[in-house]
């Protein structure tokens, strides 16, 4: 009878996890194919007109396994990835990609989590407010604002925030993750977390200050979808019979609103996986705009260097990340909605 007995939930999680594998495989295959479209081979393309002795070039090709048949390359690389080996850079010869990614990933994770949290908070408040004021001027204004928010071009919006809060008001820093004068002992690489873990308050405040503008950029742009979904759900829930039943039992408005929110929130959760993916796309633009050293700006740097193995590795890491998030979202959904049977 108890809803959360470990057996079915564990099975549900395993099934969901298995369902992610084809998604990641398909993306891996796609990236693999795309990178084989390059005329000649990636080494030649990356080197361009630079001269490198033929024997070194040959060694690079062998090291990357590019002389082997395609299907061997396909499975070899895949096996490597599963062991955390993303190959080596074409530009800085011999440098393992996984080291770079490991270095850069926490910054993206931190930015994404903050941006995501902000977008949900902004979306929930504005959506609820619009639902409560349904049909009013505020409601239609919020509706238009949510559309505009979605269409904001992230680098532009980010630069406008930098201009206002950085250049004119001098309130917040416009780039980087931490001021040079602040020292922080890294543990996880997520600076706000590290600062808390080491009880380093100045570093925490400094890290938060650096986070505000980039995560607000992402948060506002991504909030529009939530605003609209919450508005629709909330209007439906507020008009539902059980809300009236709560009121008829004399439950205070604040509590009734909370119960309504909880109901309206469930469909929002199902959307979060896709939203997070969109957010990661936005993070690439945000990181470039705010000189944020994450895997998004890493990708862009490697694109201009034509470091194809690094590009391949980054994309695959993104694919794993997206898959993992959608798994987490599925689990949260199962936990908060008692109607889900697993």
């Amino acid at each position: 009878m108890p809803r959360i007995s470990l057996g079915p939930l564990a099975r549900y999680i395993i099934i969901r996890a298995l369902m992610i594998i084809p998604t990641i495989l398909i993306l891996y295959t796609l990236v693999f194919i795309i990178l084989r479209i390059i005329p000649g081979n990636p080494v030649e393309a990356a080197l361009g007109t630079r001269y490198i002795p033929p024997e070194i070039k040959q060694r690079m090709i062998e090291q990357l396994g590019l002389n082997k048949p395609l299907y061997v390359q396909y499975f070899q690389y895949l096996l490597g990835v599963l062991h955390g080996n993303f190959g080596t850079s074409l530009v800085i010869v011999g440098r393992p990609i996984s080291a770079d990614l490991k270095n850069r990933f926490p910054a993206t994770l931190e930015l994404a989590v903050w941006g995501f949290t902000l977008s949900v908070i902004i979306g929930l408040t504005t959506g609820t407010f619009a639902a409560l004021k349904r049909g009013s001027k505020t409601d239609s204004a919020l509706r238009i604002l949510s559309i505009i928010a979605y269409t904001l071009f992230i680098p532009w919006f980010g630069m406008m925030l930098q201009l206002i809060f950085g250049v004119y008001l001098h309130w917040l820093p416009t780039s980087g993750r931490l001021s040079a004068r602040v020292s922080l002992h890294p543990i996880t690489g997520i600076y706000t977390l590290d600062a808390l873990l080491t009880g380093n308050w100045p570093a925490f405040i400094d890290a938060v200050k650096h986070l505000i503008l980039p995560s607000l950029t992402l948060g506002i742009v991504l909030s529009g979808a939530y605003t609209r979904l919450v508005r629709t759900n909330m209007s439906e829930v507020l008009a539902s019979d059980f809300i009236r039943a709560y009121k008829a039992r004399g439950i205070r408005d604040r509590k009734v609103l909370l119960h309504a929110l909880r109901n309206a929130f469930i469909p929002v959760v199902t959307m979060m996986g896709l939203q997070f993916a969109i957010l990661l796309g936005g993070a690439v633009l945000t990181e470039t705009t705010f000189s944020w050293p994450g895997i998004g700006s890493y990708l862009v740097e490697k694109v201009s260097l034509r470091d194809y193995t690094a590009i391949q590795g980054t994309i695959i890491l993104f694919a794993f990340f997206v898959g993992l998030i959608s798994l987490i979202v599925d689990i949260i959904y199962a936990l908060i909605d008692p109607r889900i049977r697993y």
């Binding site: 998604t23 795309i34 919006f157 201009l163």
Partner: protein
Amino acid sequence: MARIVGRPIGFSLAGMLRGRYPGKKMMLTGIFIILFIIMISILAPYISPYPPAQRSVPISQLGTPQPPSWKHPMGTNNLGYDMFSRILYGGRVILYVVALAAAISLGIGVPLGLVSGFYAGKLDRILSVTMDSIYAFPGIILAIAIASVLGPSPKNAAISLSVVYIPTYYRMVRGKTLEIKEMLFIEAAKSLGLPDRITLLRHVLPNVAPIILVVFGLGSTDAILTEAGLSFFGLTVTYPKPDWGLDLYMGKDYFLSGAWWLVFFPGLMITLLALGFALLGEGLAEKLEIRTER
């Protein structure tokens, strides 16, 4: 949503202007914005005060961006290019790329969706999983990867965008096709012995058409923002070709020292164009009573 079925879709301009319907204001505003931007892009050679990629200031001012003035309403950049002229020209590439990408995505995504939904077999399952995987992946990241391999050019940018947006069209069309297939009148058409091709074209496609329009509006919004991203990263055209996304990137190094006009206007135009399509899509969705995912 079954209500869409059988409703005639008349999109004459006169019909759109007449009468009251939900979403009208949004739709017309969106169309107005889009037409305005198309118009200035076409007329750019005739109305721009200076050539877009030529020095328009005295040599003495070179190297320092000049703020907006009567002579240069949107200022000039460090090379002395007139920003107003660059803005007028700057929509040409993005409009071309997005139109081409929309045509490719439509041309591939819609037939695939129709056939996949109609025959619902093994092929359908494989296609669905593939399309869903691409759909669930951040579009701009994939587009960057593809464009970086193909090399920077408008055509390659359009191909990259298409790979990303074919799944959007495919998914919506397939879903709708499945729904319509279940409906009685298709059964009736089948029992009459009509070839599948005729059933698809005469009965399924007309009912899927409204959805395609909405996806076009909303999908193009995403496509514009993604293409602007590609331009921003230098994956569409090379400087000094006038392009809003690229100009925004070039202004990035100067605006922190106060040259706001180098980034404000190009970015505003990108957002405005995206807003135009978003309003069109939203208005259409409301008029046709289609619930959108976003």
